[in-house]
């Protein structure tokens, strides 16, 4: 069973469109994240949700709106897509408590805006 799964794996769309990426984790974790990895391979946190509550919202345009219907799901909706949104988006999950914990990542969604 895949621990953190995201769909779709590839997404090609035109500028101005609205798209969503779905993420699900079956690890029982209480915290989920969205990361963006750009062409230079920097992997940056976008959002963090803890028990369906938004905890971290980095300087991300408000065209990006995460939605967490339950603890196991964190979807990312993007409005009015721009060329600069092209990147690989990773969903991840972890436990929020403990002496140290690891994050589990999905396989990524490669978004290409044309």
């Amino acid at each position: 069973d895949t621990a953190v799964s995201q769909t779709p794996k590839y997404l090609v769309t035109q500028m101005g469109n609205d798209k969503s990426i779905k993420c699900e984790q079956n690890l029982g974790h209480d915290t989920m994240y969205w990361y963006k990895q750009d062409s230079k391979k920097f992997l940056k946190i976008m959002f963090s949700y803890n028990n369906k509550e938004l905890i971290i919202n980095e300087t991300v345009p408000n065209r990006f709106s995460p939605k967490s219907p339950d603890k196991a799901h964190l979807n990312l909706h993007i409005n009015s897509l721009e060329l600069g949104d092209s990147a690989v988006y990773f969903c991840a999950s972890s436990l929020s408590k403990g002496p140290g914990t690891e994050a589990f990542f999905g396989q990524g969604t490669r978004l290409t805006v044309v």
Partner: protein, 112 residues
């Protein structure tokens, strides 16, 4: 969050031991040091985590000196499949989870 500095790239031959050092001068008392590995077209994968001294698992060892201002990831007898980007992260879990920025990482190339 503690800033980390690691070499941009390293090369090694198969069968050699590879040591990647990460500097984190402003590490906080409660921070843990975690290393991730990322293959092309995949999400990062946890390798090892430690707080002080030495930690070893089936994949790697992590050496942390007493001042904790740096750490060294040691990969014994690397193979071609160890070619990947290795990220050093410093932080602690909290109510916001364990959200960390990964930085640039070290791109390791293993050749025959």
């Amino acid at each position: 969050l503690a800033k980390t500095t690691q070499p941009i790239s390293m090369d090694s031959y198969e069968g050699q031991e590879v040591n990647i050092t990460c500097s984190h001068n402003n590490i906080a008392t409660n921070d843990y040091i975690t290393w991730y590995q990322q293959f092309p077209s995949q999400g990062p994968r946890f390798i090892i985590q430690g707080y002080k001294t030495k930690v070893t698992n089936e994949v790697a060892s992590l050496f942390i000196p007493a001042d904790r201002k740096s750490s060294t990831l040691s990969l014994p007898r690397v193979s071609l499949s160890d070619t990947a980007v290795y990220y050093c992260l410093v932080g602690r879990p909290s109510n916001s989870g364990y959200a960390l920025n990964f930085g640039k990482g070290t791109s390791l190339l293993v050749t025959p």
